[in-house]
Each structure stands twice: as C-alpha cells, then as structure tokens.
C-alpha cells in the first residue's frame, strides 16, 4: 500500500512519539506500585509515630522532645483506590491516542487486538516487577464496564433496519445460540470421553455449560471490529442484533446448567422450566427496560427549566433499568436496549439540543473507555493465569466453535430465506458466520464459576481465552481484507434527504393502503396502527408542550435546516451563503400553528434568534479574512479598500439601520396572513464588489425584518461612482413566479458576469450554486414577537459593518 512508502520516513518519528507514551504509562504504574509498597511502611511509621505522640503527650511537660511539624507527608493509602482506577483509565486513553498517531497501524490491525496486546505487555511488566496484576473482576465487568457500551449501542440503534430484520435476528440469536451451545457441548463431551486425553473428569453438564458460555457472540467484540469496517447496514444489524439478543439465551442456559451441574441430572420437567425461564428472562427484561424508558420520557417532559441535568436522567434511568433486571436475573442487556429504544424518540423531542449533544458524547466517551479497559484487562488477566493447557480440549474447542458457527448460519439461512423478501446471499452468510466473535462476556462468565463445583475451571478459562484471542486477532484482522476481497457492499454515506423522507412516508401510506385493499394484516398495517396509537395517546403524555403535535416530517425538516445552519456557521464559506440564508430564513418560517395563545412562541423564536445570531456573528467574524481572499480574485484594480469608500459605506449602513430599527419596533400585524414580501436585488456593481458578504448580510436582515414593515418600502443606497455595490432591497407583494424568475435572472446574470471576470475556477461552481439556490427562494417570514423580543432583535441585527468587527461586534451583539 502506498501509505507505507510515503510515511516511511515519518515512521521513526511516530514511533518515537509513541515510545514515550508507553514509557510514561509504565512509569506511572511502576510508581503506583512502589508507592504502595513504601507507604505501607511509611504509614506504619506514621501510625506508630502518632501513637508515640499520643503516648508521649502526658510526658511533654516532662521535657521530652516533640516531633517537628511535618511539612510534607506522603499518605498514599487515602487516595489509593481512585488513584489506581484513574491511572488505569489514563493508561487506556493514552494507548488509544497512541494508536492513532501511527497511521498505518490502525488501518491494518483493529483496535481491540492492539489493546489486548498492550494488556499483555502491562500484565507481563507487573508480573516481572513481582506484584500480582489485577484480574478482570466479574462484578466490575458486569456492573461498570458493560452497561455504557450496551447503552450506547441501544440508544443509537438504527430502528428501521432493526425492526425490518427482527425476525431474522431473533432466529439467529435464539436458535443459533442454542444450536451452538448444544452441538459444542455434546461433541466436546464426546471428545472428553476419548481415552488418553485425561479429560475424563469433565461430565456432560459441565461440557454443556462450557458450550453455552463459549457459544455466545459478544457485542463488545463485534462492535469493536465492525465499527471499523463500515459494512453495509443489513449485515451490521444482523450480527450486532444477534450479539445483543442472545444475552437472554446465554443467561438462561448458564443458570440452568450451573444449577444442575451440581445435581448431575436434568429431567424433562427441568427442560420445560428452562424454556419457561427463557421467555420470562427475555420478555421480563424488555418489560423492565420499557418501563424505565417510559419513566425517563415522562421525566424529560418537565425538564425545561433544568436543562443542565437532563442527560443525567437519561443515564440514571437506563442504568437502573439494567440493575433492576440483574436483580431478578433477567437479561440486563435486553432491558438496557429496550430502555434506550423506548425513551429515545420522546426524550429527543423534549430535551434541548445541547443536552442531546451531551448525551451523545458522554455515551460515546464512556463506551469507548469501557471497551478499551475491557480489552486491556483481558490481556492482563491472560498473563495472570493460572493456566491449564490441554491440547486436545483447546484445539477441539476452537475447531468446534468455527464448525458449529458455520453450520448454524448455513442451516438457519436456508430456513430464514423462505420468509425473507431480500434473501441472504452466500456472501452475507459468510460475513455473518465470520463475524461471530467471542469476547469478554464469555471470559467473565467462566471466571464466575466456582472452583468447588467445577474443578476444571482453569482449563475452561484457558480454552476460552484461546478462542477469544483467535477470534479477535485472526478473524478481527482478516475480516477487513476479506470484506474488500469479496466486494461486500459497504455502508453508503447517506445524506439526509428530505426527498427520501417524504417519499418513504408516502410509500408507507401507499403500502398500508394496498394491504388494506388486499385484506392482509401485514407489516405495514401493524406499523401504521402503532404509529396512530403513538400519536394519539402516548405522545400527549410524554412530550412537552406543543411539540407533541409536531408531525415527524416537520421535526425531520427542522433537524435538516438546523444542521445546515450550524454547518454553515462553522464553515463560513462564501457563496453557499445564499442557500444557507435562504434556508435559515425558511427555518424562521417554520413555526407551528398556534390555535391557542402564543404561550410557547417566545421560546422558539428565541431559539431561532440564537441561530441567526450565531450565523451572523460567525460569518461576520470571518468576513475579514474572506474579504481579502475574495478581493484577490475578483478585483481588477487594487486599492478598493481605500478609506473613503469604507466611510461612505459605513454611513450608509448607519442610515439603513436607523430606518430599519425604527420599523422593527412597529408591532407585527398577526390578524390576517401577511402579504408575501419579496426581496429583489439590483446588483449593478456586483462584480466589483469587495464586500459580497455584506450584500448577503443585508439581504438576510432585510428579509427577516419584512413582516414588521406594514407598508412597501424601498431601501436604496445611493449608487456611488466607485465600485461599491448598490443594494436595492425592494418589497413587492407580487405573485410567486414572476418575482422568483426575476430574482433568478438577476442572480444568474450576476453569476455569469462574475464567472467571466475572474479566472478563479473554484468560485464558479459556487456562483452556480447561488443561482440555483436563489431561484426557488420565496422568503416569507412570520415573527410573532413580544415587545422585548423585538427590541432584542433590532439590536441583534444592527451591525457596524465588517471592518470594525472586532471591537464593535462584542458590544452590539447581545450575549
């Protein structure tokens, strides 16, 4: 690959950069351990010293020397636990940093492999230093490390592909795992019975238990590997969904066999109870999760005044769902997923945008840290041992894992394809089979076994670790080239398109209608019923205020516009400003119809106001730089920045503002629908303009202020002899097609002439974009503002001009 060649010379430097990271972290650990050892001694000393002091207090008066006041003491024990935890997390994060510093490494080796390797190294180091490294404590794993990962996965689960494929996923998860467990268990038992392997001590139930532990596909490993290969959505959701839903099966099997391995025999009654237990575990888990999800949604309805703790509710309710499920030995993973899925649409409708971002980033952060720690600890635990290596058992386990997985997938696909519309091809089957990675859950479950009942526990652990290593290293590393080799469809970068959304909804309605005509109660029928129920009853209870009536399409549209506006505020690009401004203007249009009093109006308009302000501010701040670059391209002569023209412009602007602010204070008429106002540009000196940004700015401002003007006004800045843009902003209550076409013409003319004047090729697509964007824009703005809001708005819009931004910007813009 070419990457290596070009970074060849940089590689040593990268390694050099990475080396210190390792050294630092190892030193950290070393110091921790040594401090630990030394403070044990020091503490003793201190303690005895203190005792001695206490003892010597009555003697002080008799003239014994008193200890000098200790200026600096070392008291490590006080902070030992949090300190060590922090060091581990820091180590994990530094490692993660380090991997991405080396460019080649992260594209070949998946992160999970690297992390396990690091864990091995660290464990080895600690062992060399003579201490016992910490083992992956099961309680720590299940209560602290696993939930963030699952919550992250569940909250951001793509619902549509999941529900479309839920049948397939369930078949793979339940039937597939059962098949794996029993096949492996029984064949292993058969292997154990072979003479000469000295495995006679392993009875059937122990084998079955081992089979059930090893057979479960691990969500953490799958996530870690599949995240990086960007495979198409269907396969991703199949493997990932399977790894999540097979938790119920694993839990039941585990407890069943653990229970009966002591007794030694399983009766049919027990089997029946086992099946019953499975249903209880699965549905119980989902029920608990859904309940907590609804509670969380309901709570988020009232958080409009305490936005800061909104994310906390989401996290706490989810965690409690997990813990509550674990109390009853229900499936905690399914509970967590159900909670995330249920609460998400309602919570997102209620919480602020910032809270949403917070939730997203916290979840990603925690799950990332958890994942890293899990893999590192896995590596460390491997070093700890004790290992009982039995060639037969380990090799048999490994082979059986692969064989049973392949057989299971092929067999199940034959059955599933009869019921699917989009059949699973051979390639799909291969990826599903190959993606069945095992991970830390298997290890923890095995670790949980008690040594008394299972004397072969360590042999099990060794075998499981081998399987985990094999799947993560070999399968994890080779799956990416295989995906490329087999030309498996990758994830398409979908840009959210409102076309798609509208047409998809339309097709949903169409299919529901056709199903009704056919009298067929199919997929669409029930989905439609669920949506109606949701809209009619549930949303009213769980979503605050007016947003409960907002149709899905509108909220989608809001999100699109918001995204575009934010993107623009960040990029601050020049020519696409027209479209953005247009769309932000239309964003202001989008206000839900108020049948009752405008109780919630100030809230939303303030929000929009914020957006406008942000964009204006961001764009104004960038105008200066942009202006210079723009100047170089478009100016024929130089020196357009002479002070005289600037001063004139500023004066004109002041006059404009004064007039505008006067009109802005006029209260808006809301009784009848306001006439549509149109903005028209006459850009006589457009080509030579040094301040294109200014032009757009005025266009934007004037558009947004239009509804407040009760009569037609024409603002015209005096055309100046020098090449200063003449901005004429006209209001015309004209019919749509004419003005739009005029606007279109004008912009196109401007665009064309702009294209001809400068040879800078990169600007022409922008101007083309401009004209496209301009033509369909029909700004009609409705602001229903109270008085103070109008004042604020007027102050918001008055700007001093692009040149004196730095000083005047701050004071004129409200915070």
């Amino acid at each position: 690959m070419p990457a290596l060649a070009c970074t060849g010379d940089r590689l040593p430097i990268r390694v050099l950069g990475w080396g210190p990271l390792i050294v630092v972290s190892i030193l950290l650990l070393g110091t921790v351990q040594s401090i630990n050892a030394s403070t044990n001694g020091t503490n003793h000393g201190n303690a005895t010293g203190r005792n001695a002091n206490h003892g010597s207090h009555p003697n002080i008066s008799s003239g014994h020397h008193k200890r000098a006041f200790p200026v600096l003491t070392v008291d490590y024990d006080k902070v030992r636990m949090p300190f060590e935890i922090s060091v581990w997390i820091l180590l994990a994060s530094l490692m993660k940093l380090g991997f991405h510093v080396i460019p080649r490494l992260s594209s070949v080796v998946p992160e999970s492999c690297l992390l396990i390797t690091v864990g091995l190294l660290v464990g080895g180091l600690i062992k060399v230093m003579g201490k016992t490294p910490p083992v992956l404590d099961t309680k720590l794993f299940f209560l602290c490390l696993l939930p963030p990962i699952i919550l992250d996965a569940g909250y951001f689960l793509p619902i549509r592909p999941f529900t479309e494929n839920v049948g397939t996923i369930l078949v793979f998860a339940v039937v597939g795992t059962l098949w794996n467990a029993f096949f492996m268990g029984s064949v292993l038992y058969g292997v154990c019975q072979i003479e000469g392997t000295n495995l006679g001590g392993v009875d059937l139930l122990a084998c079955l238990l081992f089979g059930s532990i090893v057979s479960a596909v691990d969500p953490v490993a799958v996530l870690a590997v599949f995240e990086e290969i960007h495979i198409n959505e269907l396969l991703h959701i199949l493997v990932f969904g399977e790894s999540l839903l097979n938790d119920a099966v694993t839990v039941v099997l585990y407890h069943l066999f653990e229970e009966f391995a002591n007794v030694g025999a399983v009766t049919p009654g027990d089997v029946f109870l086992g099946v019953l237990c499975f249903f209880v575990v699965a549905f119980g888990g989902v029920l608990v999760g859904a309940m907590y999800g609804l509670l969380s949604a309901f709570t988020s309805r009232f958080t409009s005044h305490t936005r800061v703790i909104e994310p906390l509710f989401v996290f706490l309710y989810s965690y409690m769902a997990y813990l509550s499920a674990e109390v009853f030995h229900l499936s905690g993973i399914m509970s967590l997923i159900a909670c995330g899925v249920v609460m998400r649409p309602y919570v997102e409708a209620n919480i602020s945008h910032k809270s949403y971002t917070t939730i997203k980033y916290f979840l990603k952060m925690w799950s990332s840290v958890s994942e890293t720690l899990i893999f590192i600890f896995l590596g460390v635990s491997t070093v700890v041992g004790p290992h009982v290596w039995n060639w037969t058992f380990v090799v048999a386990t490994l082979l059986l894992c692969l064989v049973s997985r392949v057989l299971g997938v092929i067999g199940l696909t034959l059955i599933i394809n009869k019921f699917r519309i989009a059949k699973l091809t051979n390639k799909d089957q291969f990826i599903v089979a190959y993606g069945g990675l095992r991970g830390a859950i298997a290890f923890s479950l095995a670790f949980l076994l008690s040594k008394d009942h299972f004397p072969m526990k360590h042999m099990f652990l060794t075998a499981i670790i081998t399987v985990i290593f094999f799947t993560v290293f070999v399968q994890g590393m080779t799956i990416r080239p295989l995906v490329d080799l087999l030309a498996v469809k990758k994830k398409k970068e979908t840009k959210n398109s409102i076309n798609e959304e509208i047409h998809t909804q339309f097709l949903d309605h169409l299919l529901t209608g056709i199903e009704d005509v056919c009298g067929h109660y199919g997929h669409h029928h029930w989905k439609d019923k669920l949506n109606r129920f949701n809209k009619k009853y549930v949303k009213k209870w769980l979503i605050a205020g007016e947003r409960s009536k907002e149709p899905q399409l509108i909220s989608f549209y809001h999100k699109l516009e918001l995204k575009q506006a934010l993107m623009l505020a960040e990029s601050g690009s020049g020519a696409s400003l027209t479209r953005a401004h247009s769309s932000t203007a239309s964003m202001q249009n989008v206000q839900p119809k108020r049948q009752k009093s405008g109780r919630a109006i100030p809230q939303i308009s303030k929000y929009r106001e914020e957006e406008i302000r942000k964009i204006l501010r961001a764009n104004l701040q960038k105008t200066r730089q942009k202006l210079h670059s723009y100047n170089r391209h478009t100016l024929v002569g130089e020196g357009l920045e002479d002070s005289w023209s600037e001063m004139r412009l500023r004066k004109q602007r002041m006059a404009l503002e004064r007039r505008m602010s006067h009109y802005l204070t006029v209260p808006a008429k809301r009784a009848e629908s306001p006439p549509m106002r149109r903005a028209r540009f006459e850009s006589a000196g457009f080509i030579r303009t040094p301040k294109p940004r200014l032009r757009f700015l005025y266009w934007h401002i004037s558009k947004t202020s239009f509804n407040l003007l009760s009569d037609n006004q024409v603002y015209r800045t005096k055309p100046s002899p020098s090449d200063v843009p003449s901005i004429s902003v006209e209001q015309v209550s004209a019919k749509p097609p004419d003005s739009v076409r005029v606007l279109d013409e004008v912009i196109q003319k401007a665009g064309r002439s702009q294209e001809s004047t400068h040879r800078g090729g990169d600007d022409s697509p922008k101007s083309r974009e401009e004209s496209r964007g301009g033509q369909v824009r029909k700004p009609s703005v409705k602001f229903a503002l109270g008085d103070e809001d109008q004042q604020k708005l007027s102050r918001c819009f008055s700007d001093p001009g692009p040149n004196k931004i730095d000083e005047e910007d701050e004071e004129l813009f409200l915070s």
């Binding site: 409102i498 209608g513 056709i514 005509v517 907002e550 249009n589």
Partner: protein
C-alpha cells in the same frame, strides 16, 4: 387443493392473467376471494364506493389517491383483471429474472413499481410532479397540523433538492434518482404476494 381448482375455474381467462402478472394459483384464489368480499352487492365488478367501505383505507391520508389509481382512465367499474393487474405491482421482485431486452419488463419490476408510485403523485399525468401537486400530497400527509408557509418551504426545499434540470418540477427520472438509496424491491412489496 380441490377448492383452489374449482375457484380457479370460476375466474375467466385465469391462465393469461397468471402469465401476465406472475401470480401463483394460490394467490389468484386469494385475490378472487377478496374481490368477491369487497363486491358486497355481487355486481361482478367493483366501484369506488366498495373501496370506500374499507374502513382503514378511509383513514389513510392518500386513500383517495390509491382508489383513484385503481380506477384510472376515469372508468367507474373495476373488473377482476384490472384489480389483479394493479396489485401485481406489489409482488416481490423475482431475483433471477433473465434480462431479456425483447421481453417487456414484468409488472413488478423496480422501475414499474416506481412508475406506479410516481403516478400517484402526478395526478394530472403530465409526467412531472409540479410544486402544486407536491403541496397537495404534503397537505394530505401532514393532515392540517402545519401552516401553509411550512408546507411551502418544505415543498420548495424538496424540489430544490431533487430538481436537476431546473424546471421546478420533479420528473420521473429525478424521482427515481432521489430514491436510489431506498430498497424499493423491499419497500414496495407485500409479503404474502410471493
């Protein structure tokens, strides 16, 4: 099986119909039973009122358009053949169909499905979805919960996104292009019509 054969014999011209639409005998029987069930007055054909009697269809925002699609060309009666032909659009796509340029595409091919959907948008049959038509659809789907301005801005943005040849309307090709990422074969198929 016996009842299937007997019902099958009641349907006129059933062989050509099965050939044309690709339905199996079991499907034909089921659809015939449904046809009979909808035709409450035993007229032998369906009229728009029969469709109106389907409760869920009345609640569907585009229910009237769907009924209109069945009664295309302004006719007032719908016989079984046309009924089946329309429903054939929603049969799942046959994956291993040989791409023979001489044979016309089957009714349930991807592009024919899309054409059917397109016709539901394009009421005046001029081959384009104009802004007004789009507004009508949006109004129907959003069911009076939004203001005119909102609708208009959404319609504008939709056309702006999809319209490549700048004629302010969405032609069939542009419609198809905007849906290229959607799995139409899956989305526009009804499972029992396999």
């Amino acid at each position: 099986m016996g009842s299937t054969a007997s019902t099958l014999s009641k349907i006129p011209d059933v062989e050509t119909l099965m050939q044309e639409t690709g339905f199996t005998p079991a499907h034909m029987v089921r659809l015939y039973d449904r046809f009979k069930a909808l035709d409450k007055e035993r007229k032998g054909h369906l009229c728009p009122q029969d469709f109106g009697a389907i409760k869920e269809l009345a609640e569907n925002p585009i229910g009237d358009r769907i009924v209109g699609a069945f009664f295309s060309q302004g006719q007032e009666t719908l016989d079984f053949h046309s009924f089946v032909r329309i429903l054939a659009h929603f049969r799942p796509v046959d994956k291993d169909r040989p791409r023979d340029p001489n044979v016309p595409e089957p009714i349930n091919s991807r592009s024919n499905k899309l054409k059917f959907a397109f016709q539901l948008y394009d009421q005046d049959k001029d081959g384009k979805i104009s802004r007004a038509e789009l507004l009508q659809v949006l109004r129907a789907m959003l069911e009076m919960q939004v203001t005119e301005e909102q609708l208009e801005s959404i319609a504008d943005r939709t056309i702006q996104e999809a319209d490549l040849d700048r004629d302010e309307a969405i032609s069939f090709d542009e419609f198809r292009k905007s849906l290229e990422k959607v799995n139409i074969d899956h989305k526009m198929s009804i499972r029992f019509l396999r």
